[in-house]
């Protein structure tokens, strides 16, 4: 007999499917519009030229913003990843005590910390003393955003490594730090996943950049000078009302999304066919 349960089952499955559609529609439309509007802006000039002057019909590109984003994110990763991974190792392998639990709690809090607050920190510590926006402040802000993300994902990945591996290693007279490296090597795809996702996350950051690195119409000109970035140019050109600038902002948005999708695909490749705890 078709019971009430059968009916409820169908209703709930339909609701779940409907929710999926509702969730996907905005995402798909963003991808669609950004591609339709942004793709035409992508050409050789886009990668190699400086931004055009604010005159209708002037041509140029966002080469400096692409360069700036790569330098900025690259440097932030160089600082944020080692600190993040090491503090993750501390939380998981050495932190079975009050200090470890405190670090873990702070990490969780910092992940939820609005990035504009980190921007203010960078502004106070590095922009004001240096009398102006600069790359160092931007790198600082982004690495501060990365550290807790990498740290918590690393700790989670290491926690999934069975304790029998630590015991096997300890029983062979292998020292604690070497055992910890062994545990990390058993969780390397999990650790790499966290690192890549954190990199993708800060690549799309804009609020802290407004307060720290600022914007520049020139190429890279030193660690204490402002530097262009894709996200800031999306905001700056996107709200300018000038057609040639707005087109470039769409192009920047498209490129940024492609880069972030690329990183996510890399994560997929890394984690394909992995072991249960890797």
């Amino acid at each position: 007999m078709k019971s009430r349960r059968f009916f409820m089952d169908k209703v709930l499955i339909s609701l779940a499917c409907l929710s999926v559609v509702i969730a996907i529609v905005p995402l798909a439309s963003i991808l669609y519009y950004v591609t339709v509007r942004g793709l035409p802006a992508i050409n050789l000039d886009f990668f190699t030229k400086l931004p055009p002057i604010p005159v209708p019909g002037a041509v140029g590109g966002l080469g400096n913003a692409i360069q700036g984003t790569l330098i900025l994110v690259g440097l932030a990763a160089c600082i944020g990843l080692p600190f993040g991974v090491l503090s993750g190792v501390y939380i998981s392998e050495y932190g079975r005590n009050f200090y470890g639990r405190t670090v873990r709690f702070l990490g969780d809090v910092l992940i939820g910390n609005p990035s504009i607050v980190v921007g203010i920190l960078g502004f106070t510590l590095l922009v004001q003393p240096l009398h102006g926006d600069n790359l160092a402040a931007g790198v600082f802000a982004l690495s501060v955003i990365m550290i807790p993300i990498v740290s918590i994902t690393t700790a989670e990945a290491l926690n999934l490594v069975p304790n029998s591996i630590r015991e096997a290693s300890a029983a062979l007279g292998i020292r604690k730090w070497r055992t910890s490296l062994l545990v990390v090597s058993n969780a390397k795809s999990g650790v790499a996943t966290g690192a890549l996702l954190a990199t993708a996350r800060v690549m799309g950051e804009s609020a802290p950049l407004i307060l720290t690195i600022g914007i520049s119409t020139q190429w890279y000109s030193g660690p204490t000078a402002p530097l262009a970035s894709l996200t800031y140019y999306i905001y700056y050109f996107g709200t300018s009302g000038l057609q040639n600038w707005v087109d470039l902002a769409w192009g920047a948005a498209f490129l940024l999304i492609v880069m972030i999708i690329g990183i996510n695909l890399a994560v997929r490749l890394l984690t394909r066919g992995r072991r249960a705890y890797a």
Binding site: R166, E167, A168, A170, L172, G173
Partner: protein
């Protein structure tokens, strides 16, 4: 220091000499040992003298503290958060809990094989065997290969795996994995080998192979095996300790324990009246 020890050990092995530790003194002597998990006491004042080049079995019902006891013998117990130990464990007369000693050094002299085979899943068969040497800083490739071969031969795994040493250790069967773990423990040339129910995850054929191996190992090593299987204890062990509720009830030659137990509790346990 480790390398010196290995040289001598290898030398003795290749010359095929008799047991290298012939003495009247016990190899390991446990004195008034109590162990705790937080405030909960798991062992009460254990005294136990483990003879050199003999197999000693520790039997008793689940939760009686037999695993805790052998984990105290190579300082693995203290890896459990909040765990602590009181008393002494003497290895060749020196307390392994002595102030100046590094637990890692102790664990190189007293190896351990676990209940569930635990090869390193990201290492090949060969790398698993020599993991203890490699991660302790030995780089000489020829020496590592030689040690891998010798250790695998000693556990009769060499002929089964010699053509696929590069395969993952996790790809072997359960029994093979356990023999791999024994080979890994042997590769660092310990003096004592602790086995915590090494056959409980294995089928009868694999169990028989491991038991045979244990009997052979005592020519060179002192073996302590925890088992819940009394037949196993009577088959492989020279001495047997019976534990109950964290206390050592009786300790004697295996034949005496099984044929003529002094304690009523021991007799009731080995005749299957409780357990």
């Amino acid at each position: 220091m480790l390398s010196e020890k290995l040289e001598t050990a290898h030398g003795i092995y290749t010359q095929g000499e008799a047991p290298r530790n012939v003495s009247a003194e016990p190899k390991v002597e446990v004195r008034q040992l109590s162990a705790f998990y937080g405030k909960k006491q798991a062992l009460y004042d254990i005294d136990l003298a483990i003879e050199s080049n003999q197999v000693t079995a520790v039997i008793g019902p689940s939760g009686c503290g037999k695993s805790t006891l052998i984990r105290c013998l190579n300082r693995m117990h203290e890896l459990v958060p909040d765990a602590s130990v009181r008393g002494q464990v003497l290895l060749d007369g020196a307390d392994i809990y002595g102030e100046s000693l590094d637990p890692a050094d102790i664990r190189r002299r007293i190896g351990m094989v676990f209940q569930k085979p635990n090869p390193f899943p990201n290492m090949s068969i060969a790398d698993n065997v020599v993991a203890g040497l490699k991660l302790n800083g030995i780089r000489d490739k020829g020496r590592l290969e030689e040690s891998a071969k010798r250790s695998l031969q000693r556990v009769y795994l060499w002929d089964e795996v010699k053509d696929e040493l590069k395969r993952s250790g996790a790809s072997l069967s359960g029994g093979q994995q356990q023999r791999l773990c024994i080979a890994r423990a042997l590769a660092i040339e310990p003096e004592v080998i602790l086995m915590d129910e090494p056959c409980s995850a294995l089928d009868p054929t694999a169990t028989a192979k491991i038991e045979e191996l244990i009997t052979e190992l005592k020519a060179q090593y002192t073996v302590v095996i925890v088992t819940h299987n009394m037949q196993q204890a009577s088959r492989v062990a020279d001495y047997t300790a019976f534990m109950y509720l964290g206390k050592l009830i009786e300790y004697d030659q295996t034949t005496a324990i099984f044929e003529n137990p002094k304690e009523q509790l021991t007799e009731r346990y080995i005749t299957g009246k409780f357990g």
